[in-house]
């Protein structure tokens, strides 16, 4: 189970901890994540891969903020 483009992940550290995101890009140990709201496609949040918990789900389309929000709609952060 990998952190790859499209994987839905949960942030383990940072002020966005415990929220769900889509990985929109990844290079070595650095992933870029978006939630379509506070972290939009135009400016993804950079995250160390060690600070992301992967889920078993993938997003199939994540090329717009609206699509990302739609995908993450049911994902709760506590």
């Amino acid at each position: 189970m990998d952190i790859v483009k499209g994987r839905i992940v949960k942030a383990k550290a940072g002020r966005d901890k415990d929220k769900f995101f889509v990985v929109v890009d990844i290079y070595k140990n650095t992933a870029y994540i978006c939630d379509g709201k506070t972290r939009r496609i135009e400016k993804p949040k950079r995250k160390n891969v060690l600070h992301l918990a992967p889920t078993a789900e993938m997003a199939d389309e994540f090329n717009s903020n609206r699509k990302i929000r739609e995908i993450l709609k049911n994902y709760r952060g506590d």
Binding site: M1, K10, D18, A53, A56, N74
Partner: protein, 250 residues
Amino acid sequence: MIVLKTARELSLMREACKISARALKIAGEAVQPGVSTLEIDTLVRKYIEKQGAVPSFLGYGGFPNSACISVNDTVIHGIPSKKRILKEGDIVSVDVGAYIGGYHGDNAWTFPCGKISDEAQALLDATRESLFKGIEKAQPGNRIGDIGSAVQQYVEERSYSVVRDFVGHGVGAKLHEEPSVPNFGTPGRGPRLLPGMTIAIEPMINMGSYRVKVLEDEWTTVTVDGSLSAHFEHTIAITPDGPKILTLPD
């Protein structure tokens, strides 16, 4: 459609189930007074990730954590929280699954926290035993209804009730597959059990009424009358020689 697994797929499932079982064991050892349910969830998540797997529940339908931890009158789907501190006398159901190699495992156990009352212990014993009574019936050629009716009969003889709103399920490449495996029913009814089927049998048994309700957080499910509830689950494979429990730690 009920998916039958090949020998290769069964061995992949066994891997996922082994990790699920070990994660559950770790959770059980962590159940102590003073521990928060979030701490247990974190232990489970870290263990599963260390094996190169992913917690099946994390993000599933939006569930925010890796394990469902349900205390006392919470039946299932309790959300781990640092505010929920376990105390002596609690009964704690932990439900956890791991996803690796393309397959899921799913198992659950209700653990006593410290010393519990005799009634609570009796509920745990009966629920656990009903799971094994159900598993005994999971022979090829039998039907789904044979499993549920065995569970139901065992616990109702002891004046407990079977939760109706939630049921067991097939397990495989998806966490929930066909068929549904209710914990109640009529013998001889329902889909036929065939070798290659992998199902999760999970009796949820209440001390009082079978009625349950889901709280406003849309997950936590509690008994309507506030009575205690226990939950035990194994993922089993139907083989020509009978049922084989896949969710064993070794």
